[in-house]
Subunit: 192 residues, 2 copies
């Protein structure tokens, strides 16, 4: 079996590597997570990781990339809406769903300074935070607009963290969106 085939032959191992990396990053931060620690957690030799990822940043990109690409779609779609209110509403409902569907990942994206540093270096993702802030702050005129926007974004991410113990059966996405609307003074949209 050639090297190239080996790289793609074991999706289960690749997934286990990503899951172990996500766990360690949540515990120790990205800067505090080494390839050696990931290998140790799985009982692998460190060299085994290189069959799947060439570098630590490649693991991080594989973890957070899909969520950030999803976020970029939501932001672009929100920006295309016809009014301030519709833009903020699209941003809120999209982000609430994304956060509820990717609870562990948004908690990594939320506050880890080393992860944010990595994102700032990636042109396709680096502008996303400002674009979201602009969409949300516009919906709350007055000096407190950016305070509200920052609270919406950081608040939804933090409230989606798996460490927050919610009652069973809660509709997390709906709760997040409803709280965000209240912060910005938006009405709950009627279903169409």
């Amino acid at each position: 079996m050639g090297t190239s085939e080996e790289r793609h032959a074991e999706p289960a191992t690749r997934d286990r590597l990503l899951a172990a990396a996500a766990e360690l990053i949540r515990e120790h931060g990205y800067a505090g997570t080494s390839l050696q620690m990931i290998a140790d957690r799985l009982g692998f030799r460190k060299g085994a990781i290189y069959h799947h990822f060439r570098a630590r940043d490649e693991i991080l990109a594989a973890l957070i990339g899909p969520v950030l690409d999803g976020l970029a779609e939501i932001v672009t779609d929100a920006e295309a809406q016809p009014s301030v209110t519709a833009r903020a509403e699209r941003m809120i409902s999209g982000y609430a769903e994304l956060a509820a569907d990717n609870r562990a990942m948004v908690s990594i994206l939320r506050g880890d300074p080393a992860v944010l540093e990595f994102i700032r270096g990636q042109p396709q993702w680096s502008g996303l935070v400002n674009r979201q802030m602009t969409l949300l702050a516009a919906a709350h005129p007055g000096p407190g607009g950016r305070v509200r926007a920052a609270m919406v974004l950081a608040g939804m991410s933090a409230a989606a963290d798996p460490a927050v113990q919610n009652p069973p059966g809660i509709d997390l996405s709906a709760e997040l969106a409803q709280a965000a609307r209240q912060l910005l003074g938006l009405r709950t949209p009627t279903p169409n």
Copy 2:
């Protein structure tokens, strides 16, 4: 001059060390900040740091300790209030003021996993997050109480981050408290 005197003789140097450490931790995370990096930023030899701090954790404790001690006072005072509403209101107004007065520090405390790991190991501070969550969630009955409480805490910290560009002259503490009250459905208290 003896060693003990040397340790206390240069408050300016100690403050410069702490300021450089805070900057680096905000940029790279605590796990990504070494004593060598702190020394390099100030043009010191690494050994010079040991006149002031015996270990990296001592620098972190000196940075976040005063804020966490202030937070512990607020939480204890809030818990002593006579009603659910008064407890949440005391928590909100106290935290809003603390965050507005310590903007860079609350942003370090908010999301850096390595900092949170350090705090979990310190018995005098480790219970603070849960105590705050309990005080705030009680003010919003129903399944979304913990979502709201998490949004209040993480949201106020994030909105106080110096990176959030607010208009000049904004009363940050008042804006934070007002947004938090709205999230929990609390009335603005009348001044006494």
